[in-house]
């Protein structure tokens, strides 16, 4: 096997092996565990960077292993997978640092970090899957590896949340499975191809294709938290903060959104899907989810819950961009995959810090917190501005392209959705910022869950939050640069439209 065959496998293995090793590590060996974690995260990051460099030079990376006749396990790297792989491995690196700091001294850490690594394995697997079957394998693996993280605390509340999470995702997985098998029965191999591979099949199959499309989208929509399949997401935020951060930014909801992108672009082909009339229902569903999530977020006092509903809304931007036919909106949707990840992970990092250092968990308890924790709150502010779409933070670039794309494709009402959503975003983020910076503290801060430290919170927690906030600022400011996520998204979108 050459290096090009091996590299995708190594990227997956770097966290898989780490996870397995950590499982067998005795609980008290905290330093060894942290070292292993960081080694795994660094190794993956390096491998992914090598891969990026290779793809830039035109190398092809593909690993193929035949399981049953007509059924291959394929890991393949294209530009789209590069987008998610890079995002996952960068954010995993920072989340690992954060999680080490966050869970210091808590029980069952070997179990936690073991599943944590498996979860990222699944996430990069989803990103690099070269056909629908491999995608499904990792998609289900993701469900299994995140469940123990959601119920990690073992309280009655978290077990309830876990049960709900499981029912939603297992049912979604079952629907997805039916769609995948059916499609495999009809057309055989399901290797992802730019501009799709279903157009060539006779028109007699189009009816089945339509049903399959909806099966696939429903199956994926559960993880992508499309209304009305989003019920698990706000509940699942009982998980520890690093898990929420990972769930909302890279792992679960992204797997769903990414799957929708794959199905529309690389299975059906965006133009073929449009010809079959499949995109309009998707546009309507995502538009509704965008508004619905934002409206629900307005009334939540629990900070993490408000962020969760915000995720429901924001993730649908990705699917919206995909479902509106046209180059520009595709760019907007794809780039939001990265931008939303960066901003949302920052927000969850900050929410975790507030809870950990000051026992602040509600929006109403955040009055005056800006003066007590200026750095954290600054990071939070950047990310919140990004979510609203204030330039030059990353979120602006996504919304700009989405809006422009809607105009181009002759669906101006989408602009209305975007505007409404922006107003609502402002409606639920600005009060937080106002309370944090401009209002007086009302009651005493709660006790800290960690040892006293030099800065406002332990460096292990603060550093990742600041870095991701800066990243979301930088990707927005340098969106025009050749190496930015936007440029990558443009390159992907250009390939998906038949010239």
């Amino acid at each position: 096997m050459t290096f090009n065959v091996l590299l995708p496998l190594l990227v997956v293995a770097s966290s898989f092996v780490t996870g397995l090793l950590i499982f067998f590590l005795p609980e008290h060996k905290a330093h060894t565990r942290s070292a292993l974690n960081m080694a795994g995260a660094t190794l993956k990051l390096v491998l992914v960077l090598i891969m990026c460099w290779g793809v830039y030079r035109g190398e092809m990376y593909e690993f193929r292993f035949s399981i049953v006749l007509g059924f291959d396990f394929v890991l393949k790297v294209d530009l789209l997978s590069l987008l998610l792989v890079t995002l996952s491995s960068v954010l995993w690196f920072f989340t690992t640092i954060y999680a080490i700091g966050y869970l210091e001294g808590s029980p069952n850490r070997s179990r936690f970090f073991g599943f944590f690594s498996l979860c990222v394995t699944a996430s990069v697997g989803v990103a690099m899957a070269g056909n629908l079957i491999t995608f499904f394998i990792f998609y289900e693996f993701l469900t299994l590896s995140t469940y123990p993280l959601v119920v990690h605390r073992g309280t009655e509340e978290s077990l309830q949340a876990g049960r709900k999470y499981l029912w939603y995702t297992m049912a979604g997985g079952a629907v997805l499975f039916v769609g995948v098998v059916w499609l495999h029965v009809l057309v055989g191999a399901l290797d992802f191809q730019e501009t799709g591979f279903l157009r060539a099949w006779p028109a007699s199959l189009h009816g089945s294709f339509t049903v399959i499309f909806f099966l696939l989208i429903i199956g994926l929509g559960v993880k992508a938290a499309l209304f009305p399949l989003h019920g698990w997401l706000p509940v699942a935020m009982v998980a520890p903060a690093p898990v929420s951060a990972l769930l909302h930014a890279v792992a679960v909801v992204k797997a769903g959104a990414f799957g929708i992108v794959r199905v529309v672009y690389d299975v059906f082909g965006v133009e073929f899907a449009s010809d079959l009339g499949l995109l309009t229902p998707l546009t309507i569903a995502t538009s509704f989810t965008i508004v619905y999530g934002s409206v629900r977020a307005l009334t939540q006092d629990d900070l993490k819950r408000r962020l969760a509903f915000s995720t429901v809304s924001q993730v649908s931007y990705i699917a919206l961009g995909v479902s509106v036919l046209g180059l520009t909106s595709s760019i907007g949707g794809l780039v939001h995959l990265v931008h939303q990840g960066l901003m949302k992970i920052t927000l969850f990092f900050c929410a975790g810090i507030y809870a950990e250092s000051l026992s602040v968990k509600t929006v109403s308890g955040m009055k005056g917190i800006g003066r007590r924790m200026p750095i954290t709150t600054a990071a939070f502010t950047i990310a919140a501005f990004g979510m609203i779409g204030v330039p030059p933070v990353a979120g602006f670039a996504s919304k700009w392209h989405l809006g422009l794309g809607a105009l181009e494709s002759g669906q101006p009402w989408v602009i209305g959705i975007l505007l409404t959503s922006t107003l609502l975003n402002a409606g639920y983020f600005l009060p937080i910022l106002y309370a944090a910076w401009f209002q007086e503290q009302e009651k005493e801060w709660g006790h800290a869950h960690h040892a006293p430290c030099r800065y406002e919170t332990p460096m292990l927690l603060l550093f990742p939050a600041v870095v991701t906030a800066l990243l979301s600022l930088l990707t927005g400011m340098f969106a025009g640069a050749g190496w930015s996520p936007l440029a990558l998204a443009r390159a992907i979108a250009l390939r998906e439209y038949v010239p």
């Binding site: 035949s66 059924f71 499904f136 119920v151 997985g173 079952a174 629907v175 499975f177």
Partner: protein, 504 residues
Amino acid sequence: MDTIFPWIILLPLTGAIATFLVPRAWVIRTGMVTALLTSCMVFAAAYFLHQNGPVHYAVGSWAAPLGIRLYLDGLACVMLLLTAVSGIFISVYACEYFKDKTSGVLKREGIMFWPLWLFLWGAMNALYVSGDLFNMYVLLELLGLSAVGLVALAGTRTVLIAGMRYLIAAMLGSMSYLLGVAFLYAMHSALDTRMMGALIEPGMGAAIAFALMTIGLLLKTALFPLHFWLPPAHAGSSAPVSAILSALVVKGSFYLLLRLWFDVFHNVVTIPVGQFLGALGALAVLWGSIQAIRQQRLKMLVAYSTVAQLGYLFAVFPVTAGAPPTDGVLGQWVIESGKGTLYHALAHAFSKASIFLAAGIMVHALGTDQLSRMRGMAERLPLTTFAMALAGVSLMGLPPSGGFIGKWLMMHAVLGSGQWWWAVVIMTGSLLTAGYMFMMLRQAFQPCEDPSLFKPVPKTMEWAALILAFISIGIGIRAADVLDLLMIGSPFLIEPIAAVGGAL
């Protein structure tokens, strides 16, 4: 090949007698040596099959119709391998299980376990290679009797009642089967399966024989609503016995059903019959799973899960019955569904054996199998909990396990042949399976309240359960090899056998 063929059957039978005769101190050693040798023979047979293709063997050099024909093809070989591989690990587990906790001496149960188990193993091996309808009856009877004996080993009142019910069900089943054979023999004066397949013609007599034999085997396979005897028997017996019954014994009678369906009755069966069997299977899946969710005891839960999982196997019949032998396109789905069913049987056998062994470990450590008492198992018995979780992944049919391959192939077959309603049942069943598996694991992952409740467990027992669970996952990853072996001799090919003499 001719030299090793008889030993697949003779070795375990000889071992059974030997373990019965040797002094107590030698029982385990004799038993284990027999188990190992038998497995080696099976592996050797598999190797020969792989090299030279299917084998016919005339016992005592008497050809059919006078003599008894043994026949080894891919399907039989995979079943032999299944028995050998899970048999080895169950045997290893049983070595420790039947020892007295304090003195380490083999208990009375253990002394009786070995002869019965080896006897059962021999009967099962013979059943898989048998090509003669009456011979099959004798073996079914042997299998049933030794299984009932194993159930009765535990010796408590409830188990004896369960064993009695099992005995009656098994007897009724064999009788019904025998009656069917008598009908066929009266009509065609033949007992060899291949000959019968060529001679039989659709008609009243064939239909009655088919119905009698099928009902008999359904009773033994515990298909809903004939499953009443299974849960108490499987849940009440000692752990290695539960594993043997759930993983292997019920597969024996199902195997026979499959063989008869393809080799003998292929032009007697009709579409409604296939749909009917499929519907019973679907009800078994739903009913068994719902009952499993309602259980308070781990072993009962697992036993009902067996009822449900056996239901999946019957999805093969509607696909097969709908396909005329000449239709190449539909024929493809028949083969697919045969593969899927067999794969599901394999995956279920390994994972169910693993879970029953794990449940035995729990009883060993805690003295009970109440689900509510499982709290803290993940901390105190991590290997066992891991085994349960892995086996659960396979039962749920999640990738990349063997259960996933089985489900994939079955879904392929039912969707491909246009019978989408079975797909709905299969997926609902998977979700329900996830429901009870997570119900179980959820308890295991709760924090441990009192570590002193957990008594130490021999590590070999834990590893036996874990390795079986790994195998149930592993056969998913190496599915291509298993399927290649399975398809030697094309066991699922429905075609009229033109020249019987040539085939022999």
